[in-house]
Amino acid sequence: MVVDEATVKRIARLARIKVTPEEARGLEAELSGILDWVKLLDDVDTTGVEPMTRVVPISLKQRPDVVTDGGIADAVTQNAPEAQDHFFVVPKVVE
């Protein structure tokens, strides 16, 4: 197994997804299977090969650093599960 139960729990925590102990055991085998399969790439000699950063040879566009929109706080917070006076409301973070 490339991925053991402790690793599943660690990456689930990093990904902010709660997994039950039963799910963690199932994921152990599933993730190991996929990661074993992608190990096929080890057969490829990539010495001196540049990693791809873009598929189309265009340089990244730039524009003047100025404000181009704003004043849409209503729209920004409209879909929030909980909002108050244009603020997103979350559970208490600091005691």
Binding site: V3, T7, V8, I11, A12, R13, L14, A15, R16, I17, K18, V19, L27, E30, L31, G33, I34, L35, W37, V38, K39, L40, L41, D42, D43, V44, T46, V49, E50, P51, M52, T53, R54, V55, V56, I58, L60, K61, R63, I72, A75, Q78, N79, A80, P81, E82, F88, V90, P91, K92, V93
Partner: protein, 496 residues
């Protein structure tokens, strides 16, 4: 009157222009067809009849006053990955439950500005992750095609492909004239192939990604699924644009693709990659491929054997790059700014509970894989390695373009499969994209065009791969195949 829903996009456009029928009549015919078929096919997750009829009435006014735009009054379906202003958009995920965008995707806006009418939002795999449309939180889409076995029609529900399964099923079942779709690893071409429709993924950067729910940003592209090659050409012209809001969209004139249709392939050099002759390819896929070769030769093209040596590494490299990008893109779904929230004891607990409840099994699996390959100590071994392999895959194509103008392959290794047949085995499902994924990895354009029926009477497609921004050649060559193969329309609307 004849059944208006059977018209192609081009025929409907000409009929509206010649005032043979109105956009309201055309739109009402589609709305009635959707009402009858949707309980059986589940292609639409949100039909919008009132919205559609209001726009159709506006189109009829414009046509009457001589102010018609290029797609005036033509009813289309819109994949639920495209944000729609004031209309629920979910990417078919519970985590976007009730999300109503306050903006329109650029591709959508381009279509509505050209006069097209939206009939509703189309089903898809959750966040476009899947090859069978079985991961949608709204349930699977049913392929309108059925298999024939031992001379009798088999009632097993077939998948319409994925992720754009709502788009492919709706077009095949005459529930819209054409549909928007997106393709990250094959999500336009594979569903098109197994429903007898035409689908094109254009060159990366040809369509703006702005306002489309992101999956893997370096691979995602929008494109159409349509009934014919000509219809796909009409659609793509009006979907593509340069968009300052997407820094990867390309500032190049959009050609009149429709003008390319019918120009033929005399002297065109067609490459046949030997690495695509894989074990596990069905005899039928192989035979269809040979027919395609013969048709293009008969039309004056020359055929050449080529090699794309890194082909077999494209799929594993994809299953590192795509999950890595998806784990980053999907970090935004935190239960704070939009969509679902499951309250927890504290903020962290709220995040974890929300994401566990909101993401389906396949999405969770990919986010976890992506998180793993990007985590400390593994980045070089997985992600960087995959991006290097990607460079080699692109290099294979660059070499091929020295000797050929276009590449012909099957779109899928086999025809449509039944629901549940592959959903238990992630890797078997991933193999659906074996012929399409290389194209996304290299950013190239690819089109799938119907080429025949399997022994079970279900559609099979051929894929043409082009040089960057050479969609015109794809439309020319695809039309030659369509002319030779004929169109494959449903033998029977079994739900009617």
């Amino acid at each position: 009157m004849t059944d208006l829903t059977k018209l192609t996009l081009a025929e409907a456009r000409d009929g509206l222009r010649d005032k043979q029928f109105s956009s309201v009549e055309l739109t009402a015919a589609f709305l009635a067809a959707i009402e009858a078929a949707n309980p059986h096919l589940n292609a639409y997750v949100l039909p919008v009849p009132e919205h559609a009829l209001a726009h159709a009435r506006e189109s009829d006014r414009r046509i009457a006053s001589g102010a018609a735009r290029p797609l005036e009054g033509l009813p289309l379906g819109n994949k639920d990955l495209f944000c729609t202003n004031g209309i629920r958009t979910t990417a078919c995920s519970r985590i976007l439950d009730g999300f109503t965008p306050t903006y329109e995707s650029t591709v959508g806006q381009n279509l509505w500005d050209a006069g097209a009418v939206m009939l509703g939002k189309l089903n898809c795999d959750e966040f476009a992750m899947g090859s069978s449309n079985e991961t949608s939180c709204f349930g699977p889409v049913v392929n309108p095609w059925r298999r024939t076995r031992n001379g009798a029609i088999d009632n097993a529900k077939l998948v319409p492909g994925g992720s754009s399964g709502g788009s492919s099923a709706a077009v095949a079942a005459d529930l819209c004239l054409a549909a928007t779709a997106t393709d990250t690893g094959g999500s336009i071409r594979q569903p098109a192939a197994i429903t007898g429709t035409v689908g094109i993924k254009p060159t990366y950067g040809r369509c703006s990604r702005w306002g489309i729910v992101a999956f893997a940003s370096s691979l995602d592209q929008a494109g159409p699924i349509a009934k014919t090659v000509r219809d796909a050409a009409i659609m793509l012209r009006h979907m593509a644009s340069h968009d300052p809001k997407d820094s990867t969209s390309v500032d190049a004139v959009v050609p009149d693709y429709e003008a390319e249709v019918g120009r033929g392939v005399k002297g065109l050099r067609v490459g046949i990659p030997k690495e695509y002759r894989i074990d596990g390819m069905s005899k039928e896929a192989e035979a269809t491929w040979q027919k395609g070769i013969d048709w293009l030769k008969a039309a004056g093209a020359t055929v050449h054997d080529i090699s794309l040596p890194h082909t077999k590494y494209a799929l594993p490299a994809y299953y590192i790059v795509a999950p890595a990008e998806c784990s980053s893109n999907l970090a935004r779904y935190d239960g704070v700014r939009y969509g679902l929230r499951v309250p927890g004891r504290d903020l962290l607990d709220t995040y974890e509970l929300t994401r566990a409840a909101g993401f389906g099994k396949e999405v969770r699996r990919r986010v976890l894989i992506g998180t793993y390959v990007l985590s400390a100590g593994y980045y070089d071994a997985y992600y960087l390695k995959a991006q290097k392999v990607r460079t080699l895959i692109k290099h294979d194509f660059d070499e091929a373009w020295n000797t050929v103008d276009v590449i012909l392959t099957p779109t899928t290794p086999s025809p449509a499969f039944a629901q549940g047949e592959k959903s238990g085995d992630p890797i078997a499902m991933y193999l659906e994209d074996i012929f399409t994924v290389t194209v996304n990895m290299a950013g190239l354009p690819g089109i799938s065009v119907p080429a025949g029926l399997s022994s079970e009477g279900t559609p099979m497609g051929l894929q043409l791969i082009g040089k960057p921004f050479d969609e015109p050649t794809l439309f020319r060559a695809a039309q030659v195949i369509e002319d030779a193969a004929g169109r494959f329309q449903l033998p029977r609307k079994w739900w009617a």
